[in-house]
Amino acid sequence: MNEAEIKALVAEVLGGIAPEADLGTLGDDEDMRLALDLDSMDFLNMVVGLHERTGVDVPEADYPKLFTLAGIVEYFQ
């Protein structure tokens, strides 16, 4: 997947978890948990959502790499 595809995927997954959140204002290096007010349940659901669409099973130890949009792009590329 390229960067644009991954970002579109994240937007799709987050749209189901935090529909009221405005992804347009989210910076690549911003901590999404803070910027979008995601709690640990929301974050887990995001990881599950990414897993269901990509087949990638992210170990819990790697969660901190997924806190930013840039981190997710790097991880799934």
């Binding site: 189901g16 935090a18 529909p19 009221e20 948990r33 709690d39 897993h51 099973d57």
Partner: protein, 387 residues
């Protein structure tokens, strides 16, 4: 119309899921009502046949008002001239004697197929803008219609006159009413206890290493299970204060406080939490939070929590002094988890620490009993492998 919480006075019928002549089993959905806290699916509490749907969709009905007339399937059909039996949907404090609500393990309820799922915020916005939800494609969890879907539809459609009645402060007012009643009537006492989560979180990290992402546990599941097991040992804090006396809860049904995006709070029940495995509890918790946010809660989840637990989660305050949700007699709070100096066997070492708090009703218990409950929660969290 069942009371779906101490703060509810009435609700609007938004859908009938059945028609006269239909046979229903206990737990089946008969219809959906719109409350200040979103849409709730109404269940029937015994096997029955629908005789008459009394009110039309769109009608506002007060609590205890008749929605429908049902006939128990164990009764003979009523003679045509006899008045039909009143609705079996019971008021909250007095379930019909014929249908004891003994706790039974419940499967995750199937998703209803007929009703449009929508978040409370989307429902309000659609109502305010006069947009029909069933014409929209949902992009949310379970295909629920989200605020963004409504906004898209609103942008695409020519402006229409709002149907009115939209009150963004309704939920806040409902919470205010319930909490005012609580502060007015309930003599609260408060206890707090710092609990080391070192053992629990280390066990959790090891456990999650071997679990697929879909079955991973959150610390919240451990806090919930520890609380449920503690309540089984200290049942005096699990139940209701009604008609001047304590009535013990039949089962440990923990109301889990879920903050709704866009504001507000709702605390639906996780039934028989003490009897569920951590895996099952976690699955139920995820399902419950998602349904709370997409308007798919069921009446039984709103009617029978025997205690409330509120967990602030990360990036929040380190302790909460919570207010009891009447007619419950206790509420338990967990603050955020923070690294703190901790003394163990004469040595100071950093440990993840959570502050557990109890707000309890002095008409029912005292600090001694309350302290036992917090000590039990602490004890269970030191032995996570046994949760």
């Amino acid at each position: 119309m069942p009371s779906l919480g101490a703060d509810m006075e009435s609700a609007i019928l938004v859908e009938w899921s059945v028609k006269p002549g239909d046979t229903l089993r206990r737990g089946d959905i008969i219809g959906v009502v719109e409350t200040e806290k979103g849409a709730i699916e109404i269940e029937v509490f015994e096997d029955c046949v629908v005789e008459e749907l009394v009110v039309a969709v769109g009608t506002e009905v007060k609590v205890d008002g008749v929605l429908a007339r049902l006939r128990g399937t164990r009764e003979a059909a009523a003679p045509a001239t006899a008045p039909a039996r009143p609705a079996v949907v019971p008021p909250p404090a007095a379930p019909p004697a014929a249908a004891p609500r003994e706790p039974v393990p419940r499967a995750v309820p199937p998703l209803p197929s007929t009703r449009v799922r929508a978040s409370p915020a989307a429902r309000r916005e659609a109502k305010a803008r006069g947009i029909a939800l069933d014409g929209l494609t949902g992009s949310g969890v379970y295909g629920a219609v989200c605020l963004a879907d409504v906004a898209r539809a609103a942008a695409a459609a020519p402006a229409r006159k709002p149907r009115g009645g939209f009150d963004p402060a309704a939920m806040r007012r409902a919470i205010g009413n319930a909490m005012s009643r609580s502060k007015r009537e309930i003599p609260h006492y408060y206890l707090t206890q710092s609990i080391s989560l070192g053992a629990a979180l280390a066990w959790l990290a090891r456990e999650n290493e071997s679990r697929p992402v879909t079955e991973r546990l959150l610390p919240a599941a451990l806090l919930l299970k520890a609380t449920a097991l503690a309540l089984a040992r200290v049942p005096a804090l699990n139940g209701f204060f009604t008609d001047g006396e304590f009535v013990a809860g039949k089962g440990i049904h923990i109301g889990w406080a879920v903050s709704l995006r866009g504001g507000g709070l709702i605390a639906p029940a996780l039934h028989d939490a003490d009897r569920l495995s951590l895996t099952a509890l976690m699955a139920k918790l995820r399902d419950l939070v998602q349904r709370a946010r997409t308007g798919g809660l069921r009446s039984s989840e709103m009617m029978d929590p025997t205690i409330t637990v509120t967990s602030l989660g990360e990036r929040s305050a380190e302790a909460v002094l919570p207010i009891i949700y009447p007619p419950q007699v206790a509420v338990i709070g967990f603050g955020s988890v923070n690294e703190r100096p901790w003394v163990d066997a004469g040595r100071v070492a950093p440990q993840p620490v959570v502050v557990a708090t109890l707000g309890a009703d002095h008409r029912v218990s005292d600090g001694h009993r309350g302290g036992q409950l917090l000590a039990e929660i602490d004890h269970h969290l030191q032995h996570p492998e046994a949760l």
